[in-house]
Symmetry: C2
Subunit: 244 residues, 2 copies
């Protein structure tokens, strides 16, 4: 059974203001929930239509599929839904391979980018305050558990980049080819907003302007999707590390 107040709380977590107010976020699907259960994150509640979380049988609250559908934030409800506490972000971190997002708005893109950070061992993702919230249910869903391994920090991006003693690589349509440009071991890569790219303010901080060369005959104004551009850029920086 899901109580009225519990149902109201969980449904409210679709909105950022309520996630911030309660310090909670939702994870759906058995596979994703298992990744979060195996992380250092603190479980708040665990609801499932089946007793599938053997290490957490006691905490599992069995509910009907109908009840699950009523509280799910996804268009297709999964077998289970869990609520976790939002961890307190570290303020002091010493990473030397960073990715920064300047206003990425699409939840699917952010989720894919978090998954890419996990794959390419970028442990911290620095986001401008207008970047979509990483605890948005669609983002959590798209990260496939990678959110448990990548630290996402929301901050004043301009101020934050200014404090770092790392070369800053901005991605622009008219930058130098990422394939031929010398790339260092330590770096910050900045990816911009889906429609407008990197803001002027952040552009001024970039020490290097890079681009992914276009091979096709496509319309010249057309750019790659920010998630695929991030994939190619991180792949290229990582390849150089091996060849060093």
């Amino acid at each position: 059974m899901v109580s009225k107040s519990q149902s109201k709380l969980i449904r409210s977590l679709n909105q950022k203001k309520f996630r911030l107010k309660h310090g909670l976020f939702v994870v759906e699907g058995v596979k994703s929930i298992n990744e979060f259960l195996n992380s250092s994150l603190e479980l708040y509640s665990l609801l499932s239509t089946e007793n599938v979380f053997l290490s957490h049988s006691k905490e599992t609250q069995l509910i009907s599929l109908k009840e699950l559908q009523a509280i799910s934030h996804l268009s297709t409800a999964q077998v289970a839904l869990a609520v976790f506490k939002i961890p307190v972000p570290k303020t002091d971190f010493k990473q030397n391979r960073l990715l920064a997002l300047d206003g990425v708005r699409d939840p699917g893109n952010l989720g894919t980018i978090i998954r890419l950070c996990d794959w390419f061992n970028i442990q911290s993702l620095i986001c401008s305050k207008d970047t979509v919230d990483c605890y948005n249910p669609k983002v959590v869903q798209a990260t496939m558990g990678s959110l448990t391994r990548v630290e996402v920090i929301y901050t004043d991006l301009h101020k934050h980049l200014n404090t770092l003693d790392l070369p800053i690589f901005g991605t622009f349509m008219n930058g130098e080819s990422v394939y031929s440009k010398p790339l260092p071991e330590d770096f910050v890569i900045v990816m911009g907003n889906e429609a407008n790219g990197v803001t002027k303010e952040i552009e001024e901080l970039c020490n290097h302007r890079i681009a992914i060369p276009q091979f096709g005959s496509g319309a010249p104004t057309e750019s790659l999707n920010v998630a695929t551009a991030t994939a190619i850029t991180l792949s290229e920086f990582s390849r150089r590390l091996i060849e060093r």
Copy 2:
């Protein structure tokens, strides 16, 4: 004004069987429609809330936003909606840089992959018959006009690959690193289904097994999304072309 029969026809084009029956598909949004208007595709009807297609003013049927919303296939209706005729696929084509999809099901993934083909000058995309239809409204939307420049062919993939005189590179979790493997100028790259990868039947035809090395500490079973894996693989093949 949208007539009842017109509205019924357009709404039916959300389903593959009706697209095939009528030989028609829908494009939404001014930018995308302009790309299709400038291509060799044949326009069937053009509906818009504003007179924005100056070269096609005569063909433009002005409708209200309410009417547009009623026939739109997208969650957020755009300013305009056009219906084009599905072109007859070429059966005889001589391309020597091909991408093949073995059961890609997600419309967003296929759309992103078509956009990547356009960027990396892969002019033909060979799809197994169980790959999502490229005239699905969500695919058309995600291609951002690239569908006008990339030829998508649905075929018996096994038979088709057998007729090609090109080295076949399959992408697998346990393949050789794409970064260090020698890559030829002419090729077919095969990408598999989101959940199950390349089928056994197609795997047997692959002359080379490639993989994108994982740099992070992620769960070993976790793979990259098929669209981002395609981005990285096409980027790597294209980079080698420059360096040749």
